[in-house]
Symmetry: C2
Subunit: 341 residues, 2 copies
DNA sequence: AACGTTTGTGCAAACGTTTGCAATATATCT
DNA sequence: AGATATATTGCAAACGTTTGCACAAACGTT
């Protein structure tokens, strides 16, 4: 493949009878070049369609204007919504984005992080792989590069983190069920206490306490893999109880959909007999019937916010950075699975 | 941010009392370095955790080992499945991936293509924006860089293209309906003849002809935006006909889901009265009830294949390249919406 | 008149790598 | 032994950019 050679500073310098350094400075708005010279240089540069050689530049400046993104799985709808936000915001701020999948594998995760650093990205945005344990390597790598965590985060890693108000969102969801008259609300959550699962569970507990409802272990079910199938399976368990719940709060849309399928099977009326609420506002939540009441997570906004903070860190490297946790708000979207008007 | 300095060839050279060039050659398996030297160099290199400075390298070689991907919208499930394939295969072959969205905007599309080229990617994989008209700029840019089109392609662009067997897939889908005894099969397609829509329509027509069924314009409906809502709307039109169809082939899962919703509304039995078949095997197709019969498009494989061909073109730049169209096979997945066992 | 200041520009080194060519040492051949 | 081939290695240039420093001219200040 014969790529045409690009215009260089040298050529411009030659044509204008100036030195290379002057051209460089003119194009970079260096203060001590005279306005007229800047003018002339800019004119010719655009005329010749000059574009700086990104490698020579990166080589000198150690800046690439690339940010890396590492997520467990790109093909989850929610993830790709966040990616969209990242891409938009990055482009807007003049950065490009390299994306990798950790596939929820911890080793792969640090490996990707390493190659990205080695590759020279200016910063990394990451959503942690499930069961991320060995924080050590990550902590080490943190010395090399600015990192922002989003979605799946960990308080053990000292860096900026962008999350939704998991706890409050769960609280609202459960509160909504209580307000519609439900008294025995089950929860389907994850076994291992991922950050998200834990927070949502806390919100669930707080809601029950606030409204003086008993917390009953029997209707608190957990699963390793929070999928449709497991949502269904756990719901079957709930249905086998003597004292059945009158509502199910599933920590995930998929689990909620599984629940609905199980309830369908037993011809149980939703929401009259048992109401269901999910979490994510995935497309599926509108397709299942009855349509699912769920928590809308603004993935787009999360992505954008993460980029904004990362680039801020990259560009204003203060000696003492204060790492914040940024919370993006969610909305409860009420549909037929919990309340019929 | 204080990035730690990396190990360089120079340091290795110093420690081994060899020249920089020898080190470089040893690490690149150049044939005229003695085996022992190669051994020593490799040993020390891994020991020091040497990683070549990607910028110095790209600077010299004009190779970045990055490939660019441009798609209309990352947050479509099918797209993100293809992306997954791209990421996997690229990583496997030692490349990294930069992703951009064209947002189905033609100008944005060429703009992205340009910045990617300017940025120095080794090649680009692209799925065309809807209504891509001005092929000219793309043809020009083609001189600068290897390009592979996938999914949304155009025969007007002379480059390798990776697609599914749209026509045959549609044929099979319609054939399946005919085999279950359906005689009046409607189709819901796109107004503008996108490559995909056109091919699928051709398959539809061929199937009817093959089985000597009449082609009736009345049950051939089109829409600009092939969404759930429009699937529903067009199905309502079909239901208002005197002579109703006994099956609907929707060119897209979403349209098919819209159709199912419309049929539900009128309490029409699926598939007994009217069967429905979609296209894509999106997750939704299993969530809707009855579960949707659909064409499984192996997005993953398409992504992988595209990368394979692109990298082949990048690495073996023959003077005369023969541009192929690669066809990836699909499967019809039969579910309850068309046939109950 | 001599000096400092400011303004605009150029020189040349540096970043880390690859690579054509030269150089040396060793082996092979007459 | 002398000459020629072969196997290893080193030298130095080149890639395009940025940047510390030096320089010159023009001006204002004593």
């Amino acid at each position: 493949m014969t790529k045409k050679r690009n215009v260089t500073l040298k050529e411009i310098a030659l044509k204008l009878d100036l030195s290379i350094s002057t051209i460089s400075r003119a194009l970079n708005n260096h203060p001590d070049i005279s306005p007229e010279t800047v003018e002339r240089v800019n004119k010719l540069a655009t005329e010749l369609n000059y574009a700086p050689n990104i490698f020579a530049k990166g080589f000198r400046t150690h800046r690439t204007h690339i940010i890396g993104v590492i997520v467990p799985n790109v093909s989850h709808l929610y993830t790709s919504t966040m990616l969209k936000g990242v891409l938009d915001q990055a482009e807007h701020l003049g950065y490009r984005v390299i994306i990798s999948e950790s596939k929820n594998n911890e080793n792969k995760q640090v490996e990707m992080l390493q190659t990205m650093i080695q590759f020279g990205v200016d910063g990394v945005i990451m959503s942690l792989a499930k069961k991320t344990q060995s924080i050590d390597t990550i902590l080490q790598l943190l010395e090399h590069i600015p990192l922002v965590l989003f979605d799946k985060v960990s308080p053990k890693i000292p860096c900026t983190q962008v999350v939704i108000n998991e706890e409050a969102a769960a609280f609202n969801a459960v509160e909504h069920l209580i307000e519609t008259g439900k008294k025995r609300i089950a929860i389907i959550k994850e076994t291992e206490n991922s950050f998200n699962s834990k927070k949502r569970f806390e919100g669930y507990q707080r809601a029950l306490k606030t409204y003086n409802l008993p917390i009953d272990e029997k209707v608190i079910l957990s699963t390793e893999d929070i999928s449709i199938t497991n949502g269904r399976r756990l719901t079957n368990i709930l249905l086998s109880l003597k004292n059945k719940p009158d509502a199910i709060f599933a920590i995930t849309d998929n689990a909620a959909i599984g629940a609905i399928k199980a309830l369908h099977k037993f011809k149980i009326k939703i929401p009259e007999e048992i109401a269901v609420v999910g979490f994510s506002n995935s497309i599926n939540s509108t397709i299942v019937s009855p349509a699912l009441t769920t928590v809308d997570q603004p993935g787009n906004k999360i992505g954008k916010t993460a980029v904004k903070y990362l680039i801020n860190e990259i560009e204003n490297s203060k000696p003492e950075v204060l790492f914040k946790t940024i919370t993006v708000n969610t909305n409860l979207i009420v549909r037929d699975s919990s309340f019929k008007a």
